[in-house]
Amino acid sequence: MKEVLKVIDLKKSYGKNEVLKGVNFSINENEIKVIIGPSGGGKSTLLYCINFLVKPNSGKIFLDGVELTSSSVDLPKMREKIGFVFQHFNLFMHLDAYNNVLMGLVRVKKMRLNEAKETAENSLNLVGIDKKLWNLYPAQLSGGQQQRVAIARAIAMDPRIILFDEPTSALDVELIGEVLKAIKNLALKGMTMLLVTHEIEFAKDIANEILFLDNGVIIDKGIPEEMIMNPKNERIKKFLGIITKEKENV
């Protein structure tokens, strides 16, 4: 198995607040790993550090064996290979759905327009965005549709891995399903993915491995069956208890 992403002793602090205290893990090709853990545990910061939207203080990150943390790296070139799906979608507000996906292909990949259009259309189809939505602007789309366009924007770039930062937590309950379905579709296609999510059932369903991140360190990891069905760690038990209770209240 080819190793796509490797993170070694990653640390990040804001002032005196140590958010990541040395995180280690790796992901192989076609693997899906899910990070769970309480809010403020550093999950989002970890993802943002991986593609350097937030600069880590120390540690090493390798993508396909190339060190991102080295000072000589071509950062935009490397980011192009790391898809990122944000909690709040972050679509380009002045462009319609179609052009949101097309933008990177034309301006970054410098594809010929015909080829770019074909790629964009394939990506939009893959996430189930109907042709009649293509010319709508983000503000005219529902949250679920926006997030699926954002996923299309990421996969159109043909990344080596996609990072998902709580992709459904800003969505109304009835819209979560369509986004999870789109992510599942990618999983079936063999996309390598790292997800942060509170959708425990979904995590159990999709993940090869679950990492529990709390207080800036991965305190436990394992296959979903043992991590979720019968967790040994007290903190994980407590966390899963709270999450399940919240679900029931909804």
Binding site: N51, L53, P76, K77, R79, E80, K81, I82, G83, F84, F86, H88, N90, L91, F92, M93, H94, M103, G104, R107, V108, K109, L136, Y137, P138, A139, Q140, A150, R153, A154, M157
Partner: protein, 231 residues
């Protein structure tokens, strides 16, 4: 009562027209010059290296902290006195007003840049754009739209400020009115005429900008609401 107006138009119509032309030229050329310089200043102030940040802030503060009259005098009388270079009155007026407007426009642009949620820049970086591409393809198209209302204000202000060109002996609208007044002693009538012209010109500029604002509005976002509707 209207005889005197008819007399003025009859004799000085062409002068008024050429004054109006100059007023429009000065206003439009200097606002466009200010637009480009203002954009550069704002981008440097936000994204530039530290030294350029400081220089750009300094420029903006100095220009906004001094009267335009003083700036025009420095350009038209001050600089030539060094013997280095001499500007025509028209050019000096445009240069002075453009440099002045750039400082104000830079601040309009800066607030617009800051108004765009940082998530969009993150997203653009995440698909592999470098920061100049982010500015050019993602931020700028939105900044221009956000700035239009403030820019309309600036355009109207510059229309009125263009009368300051008269102190550099440019024969724009106000100079023409003064000239007609001194020839005919019909000061009230000649200034009444240009007052009406200035108001009409400002209204035309405003309507034009509202048209652009509507034309460029992003569906679902920057809705220009109908007149008189509060909500």
């Amino acid at each position: 009562m209207f005889e005197s107006y008819i007399k003025i138009f009859d004799r000085y119509g062409p002068d008024i027209l050429s004054g109006l032309k100059l007023t429009i030229y000065i206003t439009l050329i200097s606002i466009i010059f200010g637009l480009f310089l203002g954009l550069i200043l704002s981008i440097l102030k936000i994204y530039g290296p530290k030294i350029l940040k400081i220089l750009s802030s300094l420029y903006i503060e100095i220009i906004r902290g001094t009267p335009m009259t003083v700036q025009l005098f420095i350009i038209y009388y001050g600089i030539p006195s060094t013997g280095l270079i001499r500007f025509s009155p028209f050019f000096a007026a445009i240069l002075g007003m453009g440099l002045n407007s750039a400082a104000y426009q830079a601040e309009y642009f800066r607030t617009a840049f800051n108004a765009i949620p940082v998530g969009q820049s993150d997203a653009a970086l995440s698909i592999g754009m470098n920061r100049w591409k982010v500015i050019l393809y993602i931020l700028l198209p939105q900044v221009i739209r956000i700035t239009i209302p403030a820019w309309t204000n600036e355009l109207i202000a510059l229309t009125q400020y263009s009368s300051l060109a008269m102190i550099l002996t440019v024969m724009e609208l106000t100079s023409v009115a003064k000239f007609i007044g001194s020839k005919t002693f019909m000061y009230i009538q000649s200034f009444a005429i240009i007052t009406v012209i200035y108001v009409i010109l400002s209204i035309v500029f405003t309507r034009l900008m509202v048209y652009f604002e509507k034309r460029l509005a992003i569906p679902g976002v920057s809705v220009v609401r109908g007149r008189g509707s509060l909500f």
